[in-house]
Symmetry: C2
Subunit: 689 residues, 2 copies
C-alpha cells in the first residue's frame, strides 16, 4: 500500500510538473495552456464527428485511429470513422462548422481542448480539424504502462497561408509512392502546398493523351499518368494540401524540345551536316534529353506561333487535372544563348522594340496568362518573370540569393513592394545540404524589413525546394526530412519561436515519428550502409556517417561534371545527412569542456576520440571486403590521427606541435572523392587552439 501511494504520488507529481518545454510539438502552436492533469487512453477510445465537414475528415479520422493504435498497440474497438454523429458518447468530439476549401486564405484554425475524460476539437473548417488531429497525435505521452494526453487548451492558426514543399520529379523521376508518403509527412507538419516540378531538361513527366510524343520521346518511360495525377491531387486534397503544377518554360526545355524540336530556338548548323542529311535537318535542330545537371541552352522560340499553339494545347490538357487556382510556369534560368544566336528572333525583338531578352520573355510569359485564365488559374513563376511589363496578377517565386551573387531573398521584398504576391524559397533550398539552422532562422519577413501592412500581406509564405539532381527514391526522404519540419514551423508558428535548442530537441522526436507517415530517411540510411559494407556489420560506418555531411552548395557535383542522372546515388554521401548528429553533440561537449575542464566534461570529449580511433580500425577491417569503403579511409585516418594528438594534449597534458595539429586540421578542408566533409572541423579547431 505504501508502495502504491508512492507510485501514485510520483505519477501525480510528474503530471503536475509537465511543462510546455517537455512537449515535442511541431510546428509550435500559437497558444498552449497546460492544465496539469491527464487523459488516459484505452481500447474503448472512440471518435465522433459533428457539424458540416468535407468527407475527407472521415478518411483522416480513420487514419488517426490507425496511427494511434499502431503506436500504442491498444487494439481500439473502433476501426473506421464513416459518418456524422456515429458515436455520440465518444471521448473525442470533433466539430467543424463547414467544408474547407483547398487553397489559400482558407480558415485553418482549430481549438483543441483536452480534459481528463473528454477531448474536443473545434474548427471552422475540417482543414483546421485535421491540424488539430495532428497536434493531438504529437501530444501523446506515456509512462511505463499506459498512454495518455496531458490536459491542455490549445488555440492555433498559421502565420502564413502558403506553407509549401516543392519536389522536382523531372531530373530524377519520383514514383507515386514517394509523392504520397511526402504528402502524408507534409500533412503531419501542417503544410498545405505541394509544388510539383513536372518538366525540366531531364524529362517530361506528364502523360499527354493528345501529344503522346512527350512521354514517348522525352521521359525514358518514367512519367505520371493523368489518372495518377488526379489520384495524387485527390490524395493531397484529402490532407488539406493544394497541388501547384509546374511546367518550366521557355528555358529548361531540353525534354520538351526533344519531343517537339520544331518550336525550339536553336539554329541548325548546316556546315557540319553531310549533303544528304542537309535536306532533312535544314529546318529543325535536334535536341536530346539532358543527362547532366546545369543550365542548358534549350529554349522555346517565342516568335513562333506554333509555340503558343502547342502550349495552349498542353494547358488545355493539363489544367483540368489540377483544380487549384495556381499554375507555375517556371521562367527561370533562360540563358538567352539560343535567342541571341537566332537571326529571326533578333529581328522579332527589333521589330517589337524589345530592349533585351527580358522584354522578349515578358512577351512570352504574357501569352500564357490567358491560356491559364481560361481555366481560372493564376500564373506563378520564378523571380526572373518579374519584369517591368509583367502582369501584377502573377505570383513571384523568390529563389535567388547570395549563391547567385544577389541579396538573400531580395526579390521577395521587391515583389511585395511592386505589388506582386510572392512566395519565398531562397533560404529554403534543401538540396544545398545546409544545416537545419540556416533554414529555420530564415524568416519570410525578417524583423528588420520595412514594409507596409499591405506589402507584408502580399508575402504569402514560403516553400522548401527539393531539386533532384542528386536524389532518388532511396535518398530523397533524408534530404527533405527532418529539415522541412523546421521550415514548416517557421511558416506556421509565431516569428519569435526561434530557440535552436528547443528545435533540435523536438526534431529528434518529430524525425522518429515521420516514419509513421512512411518516410524512409532513417530506414533507407541502413540500406545504403549495408550496401557499402557489402553486408558486413555496419556499426563503424554508421558511426562515421554521424560525423560526416555531404558536400554543400552544389560542391558535390560541381559544374554537373561528376554525376549523370543515371550515376549511382548509393554512396556514403547519400547515407550522410546535412546535420551530422555526433558532430552536433561533439560541439556541445567541446564547448562545455572549454568552459569548465572538469573530469566529466573531459571524459565526454575524450570518449568521442576513443570512439573514432576504434572506428578507424574497424573501417580498415571492413574495407578488406568492401571497395566502397576505400575512399573514406583517408578521412577516417585523419580523424583518428587528430584524435590521438588531442588525447595526448587533453589527457596526458602533453604539448603537441601546433604545425602538426594544424596540418591535420587543414586536411579536412581538402575535397574528398567521397563527396563528404567531416563536420567536426570547427569543434576540433577550437580544441586545437
Amino acid at each position: 500500500m505504501k508502495y502504491f501511494l508512492i507510485l501514485l504520488f510520483t505519477a501525480f507529481v510528474s503530471n503536475a510538473q509537465m511543462q510546455k518545454e517537455q512537449l515535442d510539438l511541431m510546428p509550435w502552436p500559437q497558444n498552449i495552456n497546460l492544465t496539469g492533469s491527464t487523459f488516459t487512453l484505452n481500447k474503448g477510445f472512440k471518435i465522433n464527428i459533428t457539424g458540416n465537414p468535407n468527407p475527407r475528415i472521415f478518411i483522416r479520422a480513420t487514419n488517426f485511429l490507425r496511427r494511434l493504435d499502431g503506436r500504442t498497440g491498444l487494439f481500439f474497438e473502433q476501426g473506421f470513422s464513416t459518418k456524422i454523429n456515429e458515436n455520440p458518447e465518444a471521448e473525442l468530439q470533433i466539430n467543424c462548422v463547414r467544408n474547407g476549401k483547398i487553397g489559400l486564405y482558407e480558415d485553418e484554425s482549430y481549438q483543441l481542448s483536452i480534459e481528463s475524460n473528454k477531448i474536443k476539437i473545434n474548427a471552422t473548417t475540417d482543414l483546421g480539424a485535421l491540424h488539430g488531429l495532428e497536434t493531438l497525435l504529437q501530444l501523446l505521452q506515456n509512462n511505463s504502462k499506459t498512454y495518455n494526453f496531458p490536459t491542455v487548451e490549445i488555440t492555433d492558426m498559421p502565420r502564413f497561408t502558403w506553407r509549401g514543399l516543392m519536389i522536382d520529379a523531372a531530373r530524377h523521376f519520383q514514383p507515386v509512392a514517394v509523392i504520397k508518403r511526402n504528402l502524408d509527412a507534409m500533412a503531419s507538419m501542417k503544410m498545405n502546398v505541394f509544388h510539383w516540378h513536372l518538366v525540366d531538361d531531364q524529362g517530361w513527366r506528364i502523360e499527354m493523351k493528345n501529344h503522346p510524343k512527350f512521354t514517348q520521346l522525352a521521359s525514358d518511360g518514367e512519367f505520371y499518368t493523368q489518372e495518377e495525377i488526379k489520384n495524387i491531387v485527390k490524395y493531397a486534397g484529402d490532407r488539406g494540401i493544394l497541388v501547384v503544377p509546374e511546367i518550366d518554360v521557355p528555358g529548361h526545355a531540353s525534354a520538351l524540345l526533344t519531343a517537339y524540336p520544331e518550336i525550339g530556338s536553336k539554329v541548325v548548323d548546316l556546315k557540319s551536316n553531310s549533303v544528304e542529311s542537309k535536306k532533312q535537318s535544314a529546318a529543325i535542330a535536334n535536341y536530346a534529353i539532358e543527362r547532366r545537371s546545369g543550365i542548358f541552352n534549350a529554349t522555346l522560340d517565342p516568335t513562333n506561333p506554333k509555340t503558343y499553339q502547342l502550349l495552349s494545347e498542353v494547358f488545355d490538357e493539363v489544367c483540368p487535372l489540377f483544380p487549384g487556382d495556381y499554375f507555375h510556369i517556371g521562367g527561370d534560368e533562360n540563358n538567352g544563348k539560343e535567342w541571341d544566336a537566332n537571326p529571326k528572333i533578333q529581328e522579332f525583338k527589333k521589330k517589337n522594340k524589345f530592349d533585351n531578352n527580358h522584354d522578349l520573355q515578358t512577351y512570352f510569359n504574357m501569352q500564357l496568362v490567358p491560356m491559364l485564365k481560361k481555366y481560372n488559374k493564376k500564373l506563378m513563376g520564378w523571380e526572373e518573370i518579374m519584369t517591368k511589363n509583367m502582369s501584377k496578377d502573377a505570383i513571384i517565386h523568390a529563389w535567388r540569393g547570395t549563391n547567385e551573387g544577389l541579396s538573400a531573398g531580395g526579390a521577395l521584398i521587391k515583389a511585395a513592394k511592386n505589388g506582386y504576391q510572392t512566395v519565398l524559397s531562397n533560404g529554403y533550398y534543401i538540396d544545398l545540404m545546409l544545416g537545419v539552422k540556416s533554414h529555420y532562422l530564415n524568416d519570410p519577413i525578417p524583423k528588420n524589413s520595412i514594409l507596409t501592412p499591405e506589402e507584408k500581406a502580399r508575402i504569402l509564405g514560403g516553400e522548401a525546394a527539393m531539386w533532384s539532381e542528386l536524389v532518388t527514391p532511396l535518398n530523397i526522404d533524408s534530404r527533405i526530412w527532418p529539415r522541412t519540419a523546421a521550415i514548416a514551423e517557421r511558416l506556421w508558428s509565431n516569428e519569435n519561436v526561434t530557440d535552436l535548442n528547443s528545435l533540435n530537441k523536438r526534431l529528434k522526436t518529430i524525425s522518429f515519428r515521420l516514419e509513421e507517415s512512411g518516410i524512409m530517411h532513417l530506414r533507407n540510411k541502413d540500406v545504403i550502409l549495408r550496401n557499402i559494407c557489402n553486408n558486413q556489420e555496419t556499426k563503424a560506418l554508421r558511426d562515421f556517417s554521424n560525423v560526416c555531411e555531404p558536400l554543400k552548395i552544389y560542391k558535390r557535383n560541381g559544374g554537373g561534371k561528376k554525376y549523370f542522372m543515371f550515376s549511382p546515388l548509393t554512396l556514403f554521401a547519400d547515407a550522410c545527412t546535412a546535420d551530422a548528429f555526433d558532430a552536433y553533440d561533439f560541439d556541445i561537449a567541446v564547448n562545455n569542456y572549454l568552459e569548465n575542464k572538469n573530469i566529466e566534461n573531459q571524459t565526454l570529449v575524450t570518449n568521442f576520440f576513443r570512439k573514432w580511433i576504434a572506428m578507424d580500425a574497424d573501417l580498415i577491417s571492413l574495407s578488406n571486403n568492401a571497395p566502397l569503403i576505400q575512399p573514406l579511409l583517408p578521412l577516417s585516418k585523419n580523424l583518428k590521427d587528430i584524435s590521438e594528438q588531442l588525447l595526448l594534449v587533453i589527457e596526458n597534458k602533453k604539448t603537441v606541435n601546433t604545425d602538426v595539429l594544424n596540418g591535420l586540421l587543414e586536411k579536412f578542408n581538402t575535397r574528398s572523392p567521397a563527396d563528404v566533409e567531416v563536420a567536426v572541423y570547427a569543434s576540433l579547431k577550437k580544441l586545437s587552439q
Copy 2:
C-alpha cells in the same frame, strides 16, 4: 616489384581456389563450370544486345546497369540500353533468338559464359536472357579494391514451368508499390507467376467501371484502378512474369455480396425485423464486409440466374485486363451453411438430382467455364473444385494438408492421376510462419511418388501463398522474403539440391540483395522496433527479436478472435520472423558443445547466456518508457533465469535441480500475450538433459 608479384600470386591463388560452394547463387543453376580466372569490372563496362528479343530486354538491361552501378559505385558510362546492336564492342554480349511469350511452357533457358575479357548470354528467348542477367548479378565478387566476376560456364533452365507467388490483396490491401517491389524480387529469383488474390470476404479490390458499387460499398476505398492493374500486368510482363488474377467464388463472398446482396444465398430472418422494415428486407438479406479472419457463410446463390448474369459481366470487364491464359476462381472453403438453410436451393438440388453441395458447386463452377473461355482463359481453382463432374481442363490448385486433417499435398497427386494439370501450394503457405526448412524440403514430386511420366507432366509446379490476415505493407516483405527464395529454388533447381547448410549460407546474401529490389524486410523491422522502443536505443529489443518467432500455424490469431483487419500490426511479433537468426546459431553452438565440451565450444554457448542476461536488464530499463515492451518481459526474464542456471551448470559445474530447470523450460510453452515464442526451447532442452 616483389610486393606486386606477391599480390598477383595471391589474387591468382584466391581466384583459382574459387569453388562452386563459395557462390551465393539462388536458385542454384543446373550446370556450373568454374574456369579459374576472373573478369574485372570497370566503368567502361557496356552491354550490347543482338537477335530478336522483346523490347523488355532493354528495360531490364538498363535496370541491370543501374543495379550493378549501385553496388559498385563505378559510374558506368553507359546509362541506358535502348536498341539492338548499339555497342558492338561491348564486354557483355546478349543474344536472343526470338521474342519470349509470357506464359507456361516457354523456353526460359540460358547460357552464361564469362571469360576474362568477355561475357556472353545466349538464350532462345529474352525471358531466358533476363534469367541470365540475374545469375550474372549474383556472381559479382570483390576483393578489397575491385569488383569482378569469376570466369564460368553456366547452362540453366527451370525444372517446373509454374514458379509462383500469391499475394492476398483482399484481407489487407497492398498498394501498387508493394506489388511492384515483390515482382522485382520474384524476377531476381527467376519466378514467373504472380497470382493476385483480389477478392475475399474482407474486400473487393478491382475497379469495376460498369459496376461501381463493388468498390463504393465493398473496398473501404482501397482498390486497384483498371489502369493500375494494366500497369502492373505490363510491369510483370517486363520481368517475364505472368499475372493470374483470382476472384474467389462462390464462397468468401462477403464483400461481393455487400455490394450485390441480391445474389446471396442467405435467407432473411423475418422474425427479428420490425413490421416496417419487413417489406424492404423481405427479399434481400444484408451482408457486410468482414473485419475478422476465418471461414464465413456468405455464399453466392448458384440457383439464381442473376448470379451468372453479374459474374458474366464481371468477367467481361476483368478478363481483358489480363492477357494471360489463366483465371483463378477460388472455389475454396464454401461451408455450405447458407445453401443448407435455403429452401429454394435445397429444392434446386433435389430437382437437379445433386447428391450434395459438391455437386451443386460443380454445377456453379461449370457455368463459369464458358464465361472465361470467351476470353481464351482456362479456369483454375483451389482443390475443392476437383469433383467428379468437373472439367478436366480446369487447373487444380492443391493447398490442403495436415493442418486441414488431410495428407500433405494429397490433392496434387490425385489431380495428376485424374488427368488435371495442377499446382502445389500445400507446404508453401508462408503465412503459417514456419521455418524455411519445411518449405524448402517440400518437393512437388517427392522422390517416393509413383507417377507415370504423363502424370508427372501435369504437375506444373508450385506457388508460395501469402495470405494477408496478419500482413500490412509494413511487415509483408518479411513474411514473403527470404523464405520464398528457397521455394523459388525448389521449383527451379535440380531435385537433389537440398543441402540445408548451403541454403542457409546462401540465403544470408540473397536476403541482403533483396533490398536492391526494394524489399523492405530488413529496414521495416527497424521501423517496428523503433516504434516499440519509443525511439530509445533498439539493440536489446533487436537481440530479443533474433531469438523469438511469431506464433505459428494460425495460433497468433486463433479463431480470428484477437485481430480485426484494422488491428495494429506494429507489434513485436511483427518485427520477428519465422527463422530467428540467433536461435539458429545457438543451436549449432549447442550441438557443437554437446559433441565436444572444449573451452571454445563452451564459450560460444555461454556468450549467448551472458548476452541474454544483459539483454533482460536492458529491456527492463527500456520498458520504463515503452509500454509495448511490458508483455515481453516475462519471456525475457525466463530466458535470463534459465541462462543463469545453465551458466552455473556449465561454467561452475554445479548441479541444478532438474525440476527447476524443467519448470523454466516449460514456461516457454505457455502462450505469450506477445504472440511470439522463444525459439531456443529445443536447444535449451538438449542442454538441460
